[in-house]
Symmetry: C2
Subunit: 320 residues, 2 copies
């Protein structure tokens, strides 16, 4: 019988879920508006109904073999979500324990979104067959998942992989974490906006961005402008790539990966982000590692990437 997994990607606005087979084919998907359910029990009920509905619509017979969940601040070890700033549920949510009431007999695994992306890359994407690699997720912030010897680096408390909060410029940009100079203040959707505004301040040249407020500017606009050849947008990407490349050279010294995958929004700028990142990564690399580490776009990036990543948690655990 066909074996399927439920993958759930929990975001602040929506929770997207789908039924996925081992090859990454989707057998139906659904959405629950996370923000509408500050009562977690009610949310879970909606989620259960949603999953039941898409399950009914699968035409062939199948066995549900597990549920994988990617969520901000999720703890792999104890199955909770802990104080996630962007979610409506406050404090510690015992996600897996409560979900077990609906699905008592199958494994349920939760981890943070960047870790899920890394496992997704290993199961379905460009890291198939690799044992040591890093996935960097470029969204509003910067997340990362480190895989070493074929296993995700969870660390002692499951919160490893905070590459976005490595300090790359002491005393630099204020970070939401309360410190200064974290990588994600430079390399993320928000980071590149800050860089664009810094360039508007430093330079005199005219730019389409001079008529746009900070709150109206989006990273997508900068990407689009770069792809259209706008010099300021290209310079913003060059600077972003420099900061990322330097940080990756240091991460390589610690974990020695075979490849680094860039996933998410900024990666869509193609050569405008990959070229400077690669250039500065090699320029700052310890000689041992120079010209050995591949810098690649994610192989699962796209519409269903987060759901695929979440579902991959189950396939990976079954194969270990």
């Amino acid at each position: 019988m066909k074996q399927l997994v439920v993958g759930i990607d929990i975001g602040g606005t929506n929770s997207v879920f789908g039924l996925v087979d081992r090859e990454g084919n989707m057998y139906g998907e659904g959405v629950v508006p996370t923000r509408k359910y500050p009562d977690f029990d009610q949310y879970l009920e909606e989620l259960f109904i949603g999953i039941s509905n898409i399950s009914k619509n699968v035409t062939e017979e199948f066995e549900l073999v597990g549920i994988g969940i990617g969520a901000p601040n999720a703890n792999y070890f104890d199955g909770t979500i802990w104080n996630a700033a962007n979610l409506v549920w406050k404090g510690t949510v015992p996600f897996v324990e409560k979900m077990k009431r609906y699905y008592p007999n199958i494994p349920i695994i939760i981890t943070n979104d960047a870790n899920a992306a890394a496992i997704g890359e290993m199961i379905y994407g460009g890291a198939r067959g690799m044992k040591d690699f890093i996935v960097v997720t470029l969204g509003t912030g910067l997340g990362s998942g480190f895989v070493s010897g074929g296993r995700l680096v969870y660390g002692h408390d499951s919160f490893a992989g905070e590459l976005g909060h490595v300090i790359v410029n002491r005393g630099g940009r204020m970070c939401g974490c309360g410190r200064k100079g974290c990588l994600e203040t430079y390399v993320s959707a928000t980071g590149i906006k800050r860089t664009a505004f810094k360039l508007l301040a430093d330079h005199l040249e005219d730019s389409e961005f001079r008529n746009i407020s900070f709150n109206d500017l989006t990273a997508e606009m900068i990407t689009k402008a770069a792809l259209n050849g706008d010099p300021l947008a290209i310079e913003a990407y060059e600077y972003t790539g420099m900061m990322l490349g330097q940080a990756l050279a240091d991460a390589v010294a610690i974990t020695s990966p075979e490849a680094i995958f860039l996933f998410g929004g900024l990666a869509k700028a193609g050569k405008y982000i990959f070229e400077p990142t690669k250039k500065y990564m090699e320029l700052h690399m310890l000689a041992n590692f120079r010209n050995k580490v591949k810098l690649l776009p994610s192989g699962i990036d796209g519409k269903n990437a987060a759901v695929l990543g979440a579902s991959a948690l189950i396939w990976q655990e079954r194969e270990q």
Copy 2:
């Protein structure tokens, strides 16, 4: 029958070896002067004779179950030593392959000294029962071994753990690796000498170090002076601890260890290195991790630490 392992610590000057049981008891030890044998085959023969000699002197009957080796630039995956600056053998030395001729029927494992120290910490030292920790070795340079989920992080090419070559000050001190601002230019026996000389340049106060040349000054002298209350030596340690603490806060963000162990020379300064390192590590730590990560002296540091670490490679592999 008693099971014993040979542990070998290969240094530029000497190779020290010993027979070790699972509890870390030594059953004899010996030395081969590495530097005297630029011919590797001759070196191996001497080593074999030395091991045979100490084996003969063990009074109880025993089974030799493996040989573990710690050496600079050793590659765990292919068993070679690769271009080690401090060793007399140049190019790539197929260490394990050649040693197999003498010991065809037992496992032989080689890795770099810092990795061996980390495994030693896990098998015999303060990391017993821990699954996620870092060992930082403070010698002439700075080495490190990262353990994640109970396994050493070797990386794709076995050269992971180069924390000493993470850039902590861009454009900072020249490093032997050809780049600038690497952690080990600040935090190591050589690093603290450089810091002491910087302080002599910046300050006017008299100091016992004003009569000593750079080449005559040793880290031990600075440690001794700090323990005697010398202000410049204490300030040199304060600065060293600041640089180390900041770097450790970043390493914690990536791997989320339960504890960090300091091993080797500088760790002997006790509170003069531990207090500033802890203070600056917590000051720069991402909130998630604050006041959670233990900073500890190595539990195996001492005369036989490197031999113990090397022997632990075998015990760890048998237990996996």
